[in-house]
Structures are given as C-alpha cells and as structure tokens.
C-alpha cells in the first residue's frame, strides 16, 4: 500500500492537498452555495429564512421596493446602489492613496543599506502587532472634536491668537478614508518592496549609462519592473477595503455606510439574512469583476518575473 503510494505521484499530490481542499470545501464552497440559496429566499416575519425562489432581494438592492411594481418611479430608491458605489469609490481612493504613500517608502527601504532594510521592514510591521479594532479606535482619539489633533490645533491657535473652532473630522468620509489608508498601508509596502528589492542594481546603472536621469529611470525602468508588487498590493488592499465594516463603523458612525456595514446590519440588526446574502453575493461579484479587469490589464504581477 505504502509502496504503491510512493510510486504514484498524482496520488501524493492529492493527499497533500486534501486537508486544504476539505477546509475550502467545508468552509468556503458550501457556505457560498448556502448564501446564494438563501439570497433567493424570503424572510419570515420572525427573521427566519423561507426557502423559495424570488428575486426580491436583488430588485431591492437595485432600488425597487418589494411592495411596488417594477418600473413605478415613486418607489425607486437608489440607497443601496449609492452604498455600493460609495464602497467602490472608497476602495479605489484608498488603493490609490496607499500606493502613493507606500511606493516612495518601499523604494527608500529597498535602496537602503542591506543591514538597515530589516529594521525598516520591522518598523512597518509593528502596527500589525496591535489589534485591528484598537488601531481604529486610536484614530477616533485623534480625530474627535476633543481629540489630540484638535487639542494641538487649538493650542497653536491660542499661541498665535487666532480664533479657533474645533474641526469636525470624526464621522466623515475623510475619517474613514484616513483609517482605511492607515490600516492597509503595510499590505502595499511589503509587496512593492519585494519587487523593488529584486531589481538588480546594474539595471539602474544601465539606464544611467544609456542617458536616463533619475526621473526617466524611475518612469521607464523602476516603475515597470516593480509593477508586479503594485498589482499584488492592490489586490491585497482593494478587496478587503471593499468588504470591511469596522473602520467605517467606528470612524464613519452612521454617516458613512458601506456594503460591509449593510451586510453586517442585515444579519445582526435587521435580521434579514436573505437580503444580507444577496448583498454579500453582489459585493463578491463586484469585487471579482473589478479584479478581473484589473488583472487582465496588469496581470497577477508574475509575468515579468516568470516570462
């Protein structure tokens, strides 16, 4: 038996993949199927799922109330579409900002003396040692009306005798954006660093040798060669930002509701798992579509390395 297994390479592969495969089937595929089944069901008055087949949850997401006839203008309410759109733009803005912040830093670390690089990477990772939620709460302390930032600004205003009214920063889309950028920055720095670090120094020298100054080298050599890192980082940042609800919950209050919050509330507060499931699936499909077009344009970040 053991002897036969030794000779059977495909069987060995299956065996090695089996634990993960079971895990994925049990905890990803089956729940996903359940979610899609539930999303076509109807909520019972006491919050249970009635298994049936209706598109009500989806039409509701599109903005048509279940009590109305489709096409009747008065009952069209684009609230959920707005939430989806808001999530999408926020994820986009977060990703762009994170790239803008992460790239120079990653470049700096990759070009630093090899002995120092590990120290810098360590510093990048330190915030991850603190719980995600606690870090978001820390931003609350900074941003609220009597928060650290307003205290400092007030003190400065007092110093220069300028009238000062505390800024309302908390519970704004800006606060959510700042929180998201902060939370996901390391996930962009690391992959960009990795791809920058792989660029051989002789390539920079070759570019200079052929007449490229620093800016042209960055544009024509460094950026294209580090695109795999940017792509990987984008996937690592964009997808979670699309779905997360903690940051918007804490820093956005009731003002900034994202798909993540919507789903969470359907399951916990509104007790409508059918609508929550539909929203979850739509979120997933949206993320998949964006990722699909993105990776089709830029690849998964491996072509350049693997070609």
């Amino acid at each position: 038996m053991l002897q036969r297994l030794r000779e059977n390479k495909p069987a060995q592969g299956t065996l090695l993949a089996a634990p993960t495969l079971l895990w994925m089937i049990g905890l990803l595929i089956i729940p996903l199927l359940l979610t899609s089944v539930i999303s076509f069901g109807r909520r019972s008055p006491d919050g249970d799922v009635i298994f049936t087949f209706t598109l009500d949850n989806y039409t509701r997401l599109l903005g048509y109330s279940t009590d109305c006839d489709i096409g009747q203008a008065s009952c069209f309410n684009p609230l959920y579409m707005q939430i989806l759109w808001r999530s999408l733009t926020l994820a986009f803005n977060t990703t762009v900002l994170v790239i803008a912040l992460a790239y120079p830093l990653a470049y700096f670390i990759a070009r630093a003396h090899p002995k120092r690089r590990n120290t810098f990477l360590f510093l990048v990772l330190i915030p991850l040692w603190t719980n995600f939620v606690i870090r978001v709460y820390a931003w609350m302390m900074l941003l609220r009306t009597q928060g650290v930032i307003n205290l400092i600004l007030g003190w400065l205003a007092g110093l220069f005798n300028v009238p000062f009214a505390p800024l309302e920063m908390l519970y704004t889309p800006g606060a959510v954006l700042v929180g998201m950028v902060y939370e996901f920055l390391p996930f962009m720095i690391l992959p960009i660093y990795t791809s920058l670090e792989k660029i051989d120094n002789s390539l920079y020298e070759a570019a200079a040798d052929l007449g490229a100054n620093a800016i042209k080298t960055l544009w024509r050599v460094t950026l294209p060669l580090s695109m795999p890192g940017v792509v990987a980082g984008t996937i690592l940042v964009f997808i979670p930002v699309m779905g997360t609800f903690i940051v918007s919950d804490i820093l956005g209050g009731r003002q900034v509701i994202l798909v993540g919050n919507l789903i969470q509330r359907q399951f916990l507060d509104a007790r409508d798992p059918t609508f929550g499931s539909a929203a979850s699936l739509i979120l997933m499909i949206m993320t998949l579509i964006v990722t699909y077009f993105y990776t089709r344009k830029f690849g998964f970040g491996e072509e350049i390395v693997a070609a």
Partner: protein, 369 residues
C-alpha cells in the same frame, strides 16, 4: 580630437571593507588609452580592473586623481552625461522591454526622432546579427543573443568609448571564441575605442591592441600582447600571463649587453643573457624562461645546456608537457606535437636522460621579489 580617448591620471579609489578598513581598490593608476584602440585591463578578481572601468563609466568617482574622456576632466559628471556606454557583465537588459525597445532606450533618452530611432536600431541589430528578433523579450533569447543585444544597445549610441565588463564571461568556450573575433571585427569596422575588462588572458591576447595587466589595484605592465608575453616586466606578469619556469640566481658578471647568472638549483651558470636596465653585479635575481622555449635536444650546445632526467610527461593534444629534473629543479618543457605520438617510441620515457637547451635570448632576468 584629444590625444587620448580615455586617460586616468594617478587615480585612487578607496573602499571601506566590511571590517571597517580602508582599501585602495585602485591604487595610483595612470593609463592613457588611444583613440580607436582596443584596450584591455587584465587581472584576477579584486585587481581593480572593474573599479577602474566603473570610474570611466561614472558609476564610481575617484577618491584621488582624475579621469579624462576625450581630454575633458570628468570630475563628478554622472554616467548619463558621459559619451561612453557600457556592456555589463550580467548584460543588464530590461526584461520588461523587447529587444527593439532595449536597443532604442538610449536613443529615446536622447530624444531622437522616431524614424531615426527605427533606422538606427535596425542597423545596430543588423550589426550584431539579430535581425528578426526585434519583438522578443530578453528572456526568450539565448545567452549569446542576450550578449549581442547588450552590445547593440550600447553601440547604437555611437559612444566615443565602449566599455565592456567581462561581457563574454557567461558564455561557453566555443561561443566565447566566436564572440571575441566578432567583437574585434566590430571594433575595427567602427573605429570606436574599446576598453575591455577580463580575467581571461587568452581573451585579452586575442583581441587587444594593448593590455594593462593589473594586480592589487596597480598596473603591473602595460603593452602590446607580444611585449607583455615576451618581455614581462616582473615576476607577477611572467607568472600571470602564460607559464614560466622561475629560477633563483645571482649575477656573476655583467657587461654592456651580456650577463652571466649563477643558478645554484641547476648547479650551473646561464651565460650570454640579455641585460635590462638597473641590474648590478652580485645582485640576487630571478631568471625566467617559458616552457615552450626550453628545447629538448639530442646534443647540447656550448652554453646553457643541461642534462636532466625525465620525471613525467603529460599529453594534452596540441602539446606534450615534459617535466625534467635538472639539479634540484624540476623544469617544465612544452613540446608541440608536430608528429603523431601514437607510436610509444615517439614519447619520452620516465627516467630517460635528456639534454635541455635554453637559448640566451629566451631567458629573462627579473628583479627578485
């Protein structure tokens, strides 16, 4: 046009070693490279040849001294403002660009018009026989082809000087020899000054007009391949280039054009040797003779002939290496296999007594080091 394409004047380059010591990677090097010359820097790793090249390219700046290109002091001029181009040891091709784009890169940086770029890139690729490969990525080429792309990419800029840092190091022997001849032909055809760094003496000999033999950051000797081989300036060069038999000796007598050296190891004297400047009677010296210049003869001559015993023979195809003990010294002799050695009678047998002849003009007197 300036007198020299490249000139290094008393150049020093210091590096900090990992142990925190200062090391002169290049130690007061002066060299003058003529226009249109194929000039090689030859030495083993760590001799300062690559650092010297990098200072010409502008990747490093001298700690002391000055680099001149076409008569202009370079100071801290960055690489992209120097009219020199480099072929890197690792080729340093841009993997994200096609062959065409790689070669076009330097011209785009100059802001050359599109149709001119097109024309010049095609011409450069033709020159290195890569026509038809324009749209491939470097990874889809063989090592030899990648090397040609690197050459084309540098040459398309029509530099005053082309710098080549061990460009053939990664190729197998046969391809390397082909490329040596091709590069040499290219250089003669274009008339561009080539500065070539290599650790391979045969390569340097094959291609160069002049060679600088380097060791420990210093130039040991500069000259044509013939000069360097036939008249090595010191023991290092005689040892590094080709092979030599070294014998300890003492000058017994010295006239204007002849010297007699006592060689205790051979239990004999070498007479009628050519004299070089700076020798004095009674001086301890090293005499050197190339193995292929020692002759095994039936009968000795009046002078510089010694009886010895064959200790070993090694057949290596073109030559047979014969090791002969004379006195207390084992002398290495290379005999060309002009006749077939299939017949065992054509071989020397171990223990056989032979006569070695060293013609005076083939024996060099070197300073003892």
């Amino acid at each position: 046009m300036a007198d020299f394409a490249v000139e290094l004047r008393d150049v020093v380059k210091q590096f900090l070693t990992p142990e925190g010591n200062l090391l002169n990677a290049v130690d007061h090097v002066t060299m003058q490279i003529k226009n249109g010359e194929f000039f090689s820097m030859l030495g083993s790793s760590g001799c300062g040849k690559t650092t010297s090249l990098r200072m010409i390219a502008g990747f490093e700046w001298p700690t002391e001294g000055e680099v001149y290109i076409e008569g202009k002091a370079m100071g801290h001029t960055p690489p992209f403002q120097r009219k020199v181009n480099t072929v890197f040891q690792s080729y340093a091709l841009f993997q994200h660009l096609t062959v065409f784009q790689n070669v076009a890169f330097g011209l785009e940086m100059e802001g050359a018009p599109k149709d001119e770029i097109e024309k010049r890139v095609r011409h450069a690729l033709e020159m290195v026989q890569l026509t038809g490969m324009e749209r491939r990525k470097p990874k889809q080429l063989s090592g030899g082809q990648q090397q040609r792309v690197a050459v084309a990419r540098a040459l398309v800029k029509v530099p005053d000087v082309l710098l080549l840092d061990e460009p053939l190091g990664a190729l197998d022997l046969k391809l390397r020899k082909e490329m040596q001849l091709e590069l040499k032909a290219l250089q003669q055809q274009l008339g561009i000054t080539f500065v070539y760094v290599t650790h391979d003496q045969e390569e340097a000999m094959t291609m160069s007009d002049r060679i600088a033999v380097m060791s420990k950051g210093k130039v040991q000797q500069m000259g044509t391949p013939v000069e360097i081989y036939e008249r090595p300036a010191n023991r290092f060069v005689a040892d590094f280039i080709g092979e030599s038999n070294f014998l300890d000796g003492k000058i017994k007598s010295l006239s204007k054009d002849e010297a007699v050296v006592i060689v205790p190891e051979l239990n004999a004297e070498l007479t009628g040797l050519p004299v070089s400047a700076g020798l004095v009677s009674g001086q301890d010296v090293t005499v050197s003779i190339r193995p292929e210049k020692v002759r095994i003869a039936e009968k000795g001559l009046d002078q510089n002939s010694f009886t010895g015993e064959v200790k070993n023979t090694v057949y290596i195809g073109t030559d047979t290496h014969v090791f002969v003990d004379v006195g207390t010294k084992r002398i290495k002799v290379f005999e060309q296999n002009r006749i077939s050695r299939l017949d065992p009678g054509s071989y020397y047998t171990i223990g056989q007594q032979v006569m070695l002849v060293m013609l005076p003009e083939n024996v060099l007197i070197l300073k003892k080091e």
